[in-house]
């Protein structure tokens, strides 16, 4: 079970006094979460590990910056997101291939997605999710891996809540169209 904010504030207070044991405890609590977020974006375990180190090192350097106004994990993933953008944005590939899928957009099909997702449950869905843009992929990760609320996803992504709603809608639509493409190739 995740620590509550009070526990984090106590640890951060100790960290500001240079307590490495407190840092280690906080690190072990949060490292997997940051790693999962970074790996989902970068697809490279070494780079994801580097983001974990960078992000939590930032906590060591500036523990007083978290004031408990939001959930600690959303605050931390916001830092991780910033680190990823700063460090790897130039190396990120574009995902223009999704344009192909847009051409087969069939948004009025009520049960297409479930059928498609069912048939292509593993490799296909994953492949289609990998082809989403960074923001869309982040959004799905935060909603379904982290289980965040709308407001929390908006905080991590640093966008208004309506933008999150739009991103989710498009992400779902794009995955659906991608799966449709898979099926049509299979005949």
């Amino acid at each position: 079970m995740e620590f509550d904010n009070n526990k984090y504030l106590i640890l951060l207070n100790k960290i500001s006094a240079g307590d490495e044991a407190a840092f280690t405890e906080l690190y072990k609590e949060m490292s997997r979460k940051v790693y999962a977020f970074a790996l989902n974006r970068l697809h490279d375990p070494a780079q994801a590990e580097e983001i974990v180190v960078d992000t939590l090192h930032e906590v060591w350097k500036f523990p007083d910056r978290f004031r408990g106004e939001s959930k600690f994990s959303t605050w931390l993933l916001g830092i991780a997101r910033y680190k990823i953008l700063n460090t790897y944005r130039s190396a990120e590939p574009d995902h223009d291939d999704l344009q192909d899928f847009e051409q087969t957009l069939v948004s009025a099909d009520p049960d297409g997605f479930a059928l498609l997702a069912d048939k292509q449950r593993h490799a296909g869905v994953q492949d289609c999710m990998d082809k989403l843009s960074d923001e869309h992929r982040d959004c799905l990760h935060l909603v379904f891996y982290e289980g965040y609320t709308l407001g929390e996803v908006a905080e991590v992504q640093n966008v208004p809540e309506n933008t999150v709603k739009t991103r989710l809608f498009h992400a779902r639509q794009k995955v659906k169209n991608c799966l449709r493409n898979y099926l049509s190739r299979e005949g």
């Binding site: 490495e20 840092f23 280690t24 690190y27 072990k28 609590e29 490292s31 997997r32 790693y35 999962a36 790996l39 989902n40 375990p45 070494a46 780079q47 590990e49 580097e50 974990v52 180190v53 939590l56 090192h57 060591w60 700063n86 460090t87 790897y88 944005r89 130039s90 190396a91 009520p110 049960d111 997605f113 479930a114 997702a117 069912d118 449950r121 593993h122 869905v125 994953q126 999710m129 799905l140 990760h141 909603v143 379904f144 891996y145 289980g147 965040y148 609320t149 709308l150 929390e152 709603k165 989710l168 809608f169 992400a171 779902r172 995955v175 659906k176």
Partner: protein, 224 residues
């Protein structure tokens, strides 16, 4: 799409991930009961994405990167310590000697005090020379093996403090192999796979004016 449909569509992902507040949750429960077929289709679509999102990340150890983070912290602590060194025994003696009316030479008679002062000053001057050694900076060149690229040429801002530069280098795992040149350029080396990442990091640093990747060290900076 009517208002009810729209609200259902907007709330569906949060219904699936279980993060709705009580009021929205109750509304969704009622909607799902009343529109079972349509609602289930929508919810199972989101459910597929949820399943995949949860399965897509390989589990990692809680210790991942911890040793690296602690090493970084220890290196910074060592740096800070070296930037603010404790006074040496000689320095402490010197401080005591010339302390005000409560200590040092003030305790002795004027003549004896004067004689001790001369001896003490000589000791401190000689001692400092022995302990400190020469203090100078020179332009450094690199040995041939280190000069192979890719390297980063970094121009540091003129008002950057040495401590800031050191922290940046340690943070990046970078090694200065040549510089500063007369134009203020440093040539640094990092593992080949981290060149691009380090370049990006330096670009956003407040102490760096410019950074670029170069294939090798200029010939004039290579020690033969």
């Amino acid at each position: 799409m009517n208002t009810e449909n729209l609200r259902f569509s907007e709330l569906a992902p949060w219904y699936v991930n279980g993060s709705l507040n009580a009021a929205d949750q109750a509304w969704m429960d009622a909607y799902v009961r009343n529109h079972a077929a349509e609602a289930q289709t929508e919810l199972s679509a989101w459910g597929s994405l949820q399943t995949q999102a949860k399965q897509s990340v390989a589990p990692a150890s809680a210790d991942i990167g911890l040793a690296k983070a602690l090493a970084r912290i220890h290196a910074q602590k060592a740096l800070r310590k070296s930037a603010n060194p404790q006074p040496s025994a000689l320095q402490r003696f010197s401080n005591w000697l010339f302390a005000g009316s409560n200590g040092g030479l003030a305790k002795f008679s004027p003549a004896l005090g004067m004689a001790l002062a001369v001896i003490a000053v000589q000791a401190v001057v000689i001692g400092k020379g022995v302990v400190s050694g020469p203090d100078y900076t020179q332009v450094r060149g690199a040995k041939k093996g280190l000069a192979d690229g890719p390297l980063l040429r970094v121009n540091i801002k003129s008002d950057a403090k040495e401590n800031q530069i050191r922290l940046l280098l340690i943070d990046s795992g970078a090694l200065i192999i040549a510089g500063p040149t007369h134009l203020g350029d440093y040539y640094i080396k990092v593992a080949a796979e981290r060149v691009e990442q380090t370049r990006s990091r330096f670009q956003t640093s407040e102490v760096v004016d410019a950074v670029s990747v170069v294939a090798s060290l200029p010939e004039e900076l290579v020690d033969q």
